[in-house]
Amino acid sequence: MSYLPKPVLVIGGGIAGIQAALDLADQGIQVYLVEKTPSIGGKMMQLDKTFPTLDCSACILTPKMVAVARHPNIKLLTYSEVIEVTGSAGNFNVKILKKPRYVDEEKCIGCGICFNKCPSKVPDEFNLGMSQRRAIYVPFPQAVPLKATIDKEHCIYFTKQRCRVCEKVCPTKAINYEQKPETIELNVASIVVATGYQLIDPTLAAQYGYGKYQNVYISLEFERLLSSTGPTGGEIVRRSDNKHPKNIAFIQCVCSRDVKINPNCSAFCCMASVKHSILAKEHLPNVDCTIFYMDLRAFGKGYQEFYNRAMREFGVKFMRGKPAKIEEEPETKNLIITYEDTFTGLKKTMTFDMVVLAVGVKPIYPEALKLPLSEDGYVQLKNQYLDPVLTMIDGVYTVGVAAGAKDIPDSVVQSGNAAIKASILAGGAQK
């Protein structure tokens, strides 16, 4: 084997990107894994447990993250973004901007002394703003790499030219306020786009009052409430009074399946809400859970069984009907939902202590690639059947939610698919 394979670029360090990188690396291909946030892990890291097995999300994901960090064939570039791509299949020239962490990655040991001393408190995006982090931080304790990052916008030194506490306390002298952005140039054979998704702004569904009523949550916030590493340490309590809710409503298809906001089905929310209702019942055995849905899309392996379990074993109520509006009782901050029970044809109102909106998703793409998109907002594919992950640009593959809303197993399958395609371009015939 004298042929030296070319490297592959994987953009996005969520589960889809991680899996693609690991597959490629295991095949003997050099991989650059670029992640724009300070740590890999993606949205899956924010989940508490996963459906339908109720596997703890962190437990199954962190080993993969560790494996990425440990793999000799993977070069991890976190806090970095792809800013320019030229060339074509087999020969892409890529420019990557490595944003300054203001912390020397070589020296930082992730001890956490700096962020315990940092005086500037900032809403923590990992917990969707429900708790606070410091201006120097690691996004979550299991971060890979476990290196601190200074958030320049909130750092007192950068905004007011004083403080420098972190520099003083750092035992390894890793803080470097003078760090500059760095541009890295790479030549790669192929590119796997695993950039994932963002949640659609829930205030677009104004009738549900997110942002206006304190006890209306979005599903990812609820996920953080459930999590032991979340802002409440795994306690489900209301924003308004820190009390346990006695009943929770889960509303499906918020900003999904709505032609005025986003006509696509987001594929995983139904099962996520079923899971939320089961977990809520596990946390608070006396809580009443009601899921408002239109079609319950329990399509994957074990999903229908999971849905049946929620109904029969956990007594979760399923109400077929799209709620028209939510109003708040001013004194109690309870929420009144108006809906039609389409099985009885009765128009009703019901009061809940907490409402969780299953918000739809939209894809994120690296602008530098200029990927042609379809009408539905997702990337256009060249030949969906014969090559399900190939974009309109030869040598560029998309996987995960960036290639259409999907659940974790389907994302992982696609990652494998893209990995071998990228590998074929990178490695050619081996013998």
């Binding site: 009907g321 709620p323 509006k325 039609e340």
Partner: protein
Amino acid sequence: MTYLVPQHPLQLVELGAERFSRCFNCGNCTAICPITKEKASYPRKLIRYSLLGMEDKILSSTDPWLCYYCGECSDQCPRDANPGSFMMSLRRYLTTKYDWTGFSKLMYYSKKAEVIAIIVVAAIVGSIIYLLHGPIVETRVELETFAPYLTTEIGALTVLFVLAGILLSNLYRMYRFVMRDENGNRIRVPLGFMIRDFIRIVPLHFLTQIKIKECKDRQKNWINHLIIFYGYAASFILFVPLLKFTQTNDPFLFVNPLSILGIFSTIALLYGASIAIYGRVKKTQPMWKDSHSTDWMFLILLLLTTITGILTGIFRTFGFPLPTYIMYSLHLMIAAPFLILEVPFAKWSHLAYRPFALYFESLKERYLASKR
């Protein structure tokens, strides 16, 4: 067993329903509707009945008449299936079904037929005027001489009674369709209740149309509705049963209470019709967003009737004999098709169907209560 008519929903498309077949049955429309009560499940159920072709269910429903098209359902429909326009088309559909003469169907399903019908009626009226008009006095305005009171009044009253007859028979058909239980069996209510409920419901709702106010933000609409309604009612009374006093050779007297009423009623009509036309052109309200050809025809004829009436009055007051006669002839040629065609067969029949729908609904309630 419900008999299915798969073609049914396609008729509604012809009657102006837009995109309603996109409906994925979520119930958002029912939930957002400000006038649905706990038990009444519309528009959703009606859309479902229609799509599945359950025509009997549609025919026996009074719900379409309860909707005043505030448009909330259409605004929030996740599939943009426009339930509001669907409800509107259902009212047109029911109007064609209640009417036994077939004219209604003709007018609603064919723009061409509608225009031809109007032209034919106008031509007939024109020919009658041409053949039967009195002497033309050119020196001063002598309207009563040109159009002798008796001839005009006979014509007007004939039209009035024929129309009333058709409208009543259509209302009876509506009664026959509606008074059925969920299995489609006829239901009867004791006469005493029928009379009591009639007195309780029909006059009030006919005269006030108070139900519109239950709709969201419809105060203005309600007032406009009332303006047109009372303008029309006053004009109708003044110029049909009281024709003797209004169509005289005497000059128009500003002190005559009838003249004053005439002025107010015509101003009201002019105002109401203009607002509605402007609204429909600009599509300022949901209900004005999708206008059927009959809506336009109704408003145009109403406006033209009013304008020609006013012009006749002006010409007469200022003493232009020939223009007065011509304008009056035109007025009659426009008013006749308006009254003959629009009132019993098209748009304006809702004035009768709406209160009667409430009345029949209440009778049905009584029946169901007695069953329980």
